[in-house]
Amino acid sequence: MNHLPVAAVLLPLAAAFCIAFLGAMSRRLARAIAQVAVILDLIVAVLIWRTVSTAGPLAYAVGGWLPPLGIALRIDAAVASFLVLLAMVTGLVVLYAANGGGEDTSPAEGHWFWVMALVALGSMAGVLMAGDLFNLFVMVEITSIVSYGLVSVRRTGAALEASFKYLVLGGVATGMLLLATALVYGITGYLDLPMAGAAMSQALVDYPYAGMAAIGLFTIGYGVKAGLMPFHTWLPDAHSSAPVASSALLSGLVVKVNVFALFKVMLGLWGSSFGGGSPLRGVVLVLSVIAMVAGAGLAWRERDIKRMLAYSTVGHMGYIFAGFAIGSPFAVAGAMYHIVSHALMKSCLFLSAGLWVRQTGSRDVNRITGIGKQMPITTAAFAVAALGMIGFPGTNGFVSKYYIAVGALDGGIPIVAISIIASSLINGMFYLPVVIRAYLGRSRRSEIAAARVPFGRETAPGSLAVVVVLAVLIVLTGLWPGGAMAGFLAASRALLPLP
């Protein structure tokens, strides 16, 4: 029971290892191992969550070696909730891909998708739990490398190019993170986050420029990996050219984990969200406010549904950055809740869009006219997720936006609340026409096909079940955010310095 944290990282990695060798022999075996592994990992995550909610935050020293030399894993209520989210979403995506999901009926990638998805699962868990800078760096790097692979897993021309762009930019970011880590180690003498944080205030007096450089490098480095504007340029290509299962993982989980890593570093080292009174907070606020509106605006112009969803992710990352940068308990809790909401919503959107694309053979938004008749359940799931993105009450999107907005007013930055509203309006302007066209558009092909398809048999049942589960979760977490939200509020109040 007390080795669960390590299991959360090692179990998926071990499964990935097995699949890498055995999968070449039998694709069925690879799929089976993958599905079993994600279910087991979900159980591990839930157990960790139960332990943390009853016994309080958990600290685990890997191999029994204590800091400052050993690696410490630290799990509080927020991290535990995210671990469950990670396991659940990855599990659902794996189930989707294993049961007929995705745009292509003949995946050319063999078993590599499972390998990389599972490695990502393990390394992201590692990022969430990491208690020291170097371990964090290693885990972030593993996640990034596997992400590049997830983009290009189908080896199409566009994907390879996007993956390469992602690799270059990500590599530069990695370099920055390494340099920042080195700087912090240099000036404080510690890699363990709490210890380095304790030494930081003195270090900043001794080495002010190094401190500023470190904070700036961390922000840009993680900003690139999390898709903060203007460092987002790799994202639209990468998330749109990847197969939908990969996009769901990338948009839903990978970028979030990087934002959370930044928040953790800021809090651990500088004691408050985005360095207290540093000008960096203002910069991040401005960037995130712009991102919220510009991301949505750029999505509105898109005709390719996957690029539309990718730009929408850029916009929503703005919400999360804004919430963290504002720093008031409601705002931070709202940002954490938005990590959960957006992960669920974006993966639902990508996965249902994937089912559409598979049916129509095209990613053009105008080609899905009337598909709601043929695929009512899939379209309903997309509609629910779209309403969530707009912030319709009853969905989790509303809850997180509400908390961030109230937190913005609390924190004295009302512009964020206005920007949330403007962004939601623009989100409505491109999501709603898609839903309307899908259900109310007239298409002879759809009507003929709809007549032949009985209710519930519109596509492979496994993948259909996955999008339905996601849509239901969106509504459930929208109507009963209680436990998770209270947990996030408590965590954010505990983490942040008192106002």
Binding site: Y402, A405, L409, I421, L425, L432
Partner: protein
């Protein structure tokens, strides 16, 4: 004034019963149309019965509360029904029941009936939930639940015109919702609570308080058809099928007015509202709405567009009452919620009846219609008399109260506005009535042939195309079937009977509501 709070399951049941019934409607679908239709009617009737069942407790002075759930700290779903809420809920539910019965006749043979009835019920749930909401979040949630499904009702015909009107409606609704969201967040930020019953916490008209108020005016005003946010109304109401138009004009517009009533009198408070000078602004906007709505209605020749603009003008009366803030004005405004709901829905139902049975939509073609559809036109005439404010009809009661209220406030200018409006109403309603009874049809000899040759009369736009009738089957009497007639007659009777009988129940309710809102 603290009334006794009583926990009750009834408000929750009223709000959720139609929601559950929607699932039933989808499941039953077009295959079991009769059972599905029966389910819709039974649900509407049950909701009316439940609403009426609240009367004993309400008249004893209690306030009924249903706590549904607490989503998160400060986000709760609670229903709280006081006199005002009860009154509006019962009126809305009763009107909805009449329209439901009418729909059974009207929608026969139409496409996408399951979709229509399902979203019909969702809109009902949303409207009633809004009337019973205890706090801003509940109000927001049910307001959205009402507004979004109403889109599907508006675009039911799916003609290009309907889709355009629908898009306009949808985006204005979403803009309104986001304004509502801003107000919600601002109120939470300023007072720490979203309750609709927290007068006195906001003490100064700072930028946030003002901004929040403007946001609420945008959100609710847009829904109520306030100028200049009324532009969706004149397109959406005509293109929707007539039962939907009746509900949009009869009930949905009222939720906007109701929400604004609650925000002004329940959160900001009457004193603050007057002291901040906002009441003057509201009065001016209301006066503009009244005059503009009535004036433009005169210029419209399409019957449903004329009725739509008339609704805009009439909603101005209610907004004016909100702005005048004297007790008699508030009584007038509250009574007008009842009067207009009954009358406007009946007018739209008769319009639907005329269009469906004869295919005529242009008011200049209504010559002789009074004899071809005697009962329908009788209903129309009664309602027209009511709206124009002829005593002893309902409309007179509310307009008289409003005028007295204007004098009470010392602002007799508004009484002049009301009289002008009454005059304009008379002009555009009575011309229709006169044409119907004393006019000759524009193409008198060719009415039968028009149906025969084209099947579609050139200026008919988006209603169901009239049936092609060969000349030898040309009927003089084209009255509507009983399912459509009976609700219209009941509504028309309601528009006149309450002011005749000694016990004017809606008036009593309106008086108590006014007292409640003003805190006396």
């Amino acid at each position: 004034m603290e009334a006794e709070l009583v926990n009750s399951w009834i408000p929750g049941a009223i709000a959720f019963l139609p929601l559950l019934a929607t699932i039933g409607v989808f499941v039953l679908g077009d295959q079991r149309a009769q059972i599905r239709d029966g389910l819709v009617v039974i649900t509407s009737a049950a909701v009316v019965a439940l609403a009426a069942a609240m009367y004993p407790a309400i008249s004893a002075g209690h306030v009924l509360v249903s706590r549904i759930m607490e989503l998160a700290p400060s986000l709760t779903m609670i229903f709280r029904v006081d006199v005002f809420g009860f009154y509006v809920t019962l009126v809305a539910a009763a009107v909805w029941l009449m329209v439901t019965i009418y729909s059974l006749g009207y929608m026969e043979g139409e496409h996408a009936q399951t979709r229509f009835y399902a979203f019909f019920l969702l809109t009902l749930s949303g409207a009633l939930g809004s009337f019973m909401a205890s706090d801003l979040f509940t109000l927001f949630m049910f307001f959205e639940l009402m507004s979004l499904p109403a889109y599907v009702l508006v675009i039911h015909e799916q003609t290009p015109q309907a889709m355009r009107a629908g898009v306009k409606y949808l985006f204005m609704t979403i803009a309104g919702s986001l304004a509502f969201f801003f107000g919600l967040v601002a109120i939470q930020g300023m007072t720490g609570s979203l309750d609709l019953n927290q007068v006195g916490k906001i003490t100064e008209a700072g930028p946030l308080a003002t901004g929040a108020f403007i946001a609420f005016v945008i959100a609710f005003g847009m829904k109520a058809g306030m100028v200049p946010l009324h532009v969706w109304l004149s397109d959406a109401h005509p293109v929707a099928p007539s039962p939907a138009s009746a509900l949009l004009s009869g009930v949905m517009l009222k939720t906007g007015a109701y929400g604004l009533f609650r925000v002004i009198y329940g959160i900001y408070g009457a004193e603050f509202f007057r002291a901040a000078g906002w009441s003057t602004w509201l009065q001016i906007i209301a006066a503009v709405t009244i005059l503009l709505g009535s004036a433009v209605a005169i210029t419209q020749t399409d019957l449903k567009r004329r009725l739509a603009y008339s609704s805009i003008g009439q909603m101005g009366y209610i907004l004016l009452a909100m702005g005048l803030m004297t007790e008699r004005a508030m009584v007038g405004g509250a009574y007008h919620i009842f009067a207009h709901a009954v009358v406007k829905s009946c007018l739209f139902l008769s319009a639907g009846s005329i269009i469906r049975q004869t295919g005529l939509r242009d008011v200049r073609d209504f010559g002789g219609l009074g004899y071809r559809m005697p009962l329908t036109m009788a209903c129309f005439t009664m309602c027209a008399l009511t709206i124009a404010g002829i005593p002893p009809m309902n409309g007179f009661v509310s307009e008289w109260a409003l005028m007295q209220g204007a004098f009470d406030a010392g602002l007799s200018g508004y009484a002049v506005v009301l009289m002008l409006s009454a005059l304009m109403n008379a002009v555009y309603y009575f011309t229709i009535v006169i044409t119907a009874y004393f006019g000759k049809p524009r193409h008198a000899e060719h009415v039968g042939e028009m149906h025969d040759e084209h099947g579609i009369i050139p200026h008919v736009t988006t209603e169901a195309p009239p049936q092609i009738i060969p000349k030898r089957h040309f009927q003089w009497l084209r009255e509507a079937p009983p399912q459509m007639l009976v609700p219209m007659l009941i509504l028309a009777t309601a528009s006149v009977i309450f002011s005749l009988i000694p016990n004017n129940w809606p008036l009593e309710m309106a008086q108590q509501s006014a007292k409640l809102l003003l805190g006396r």
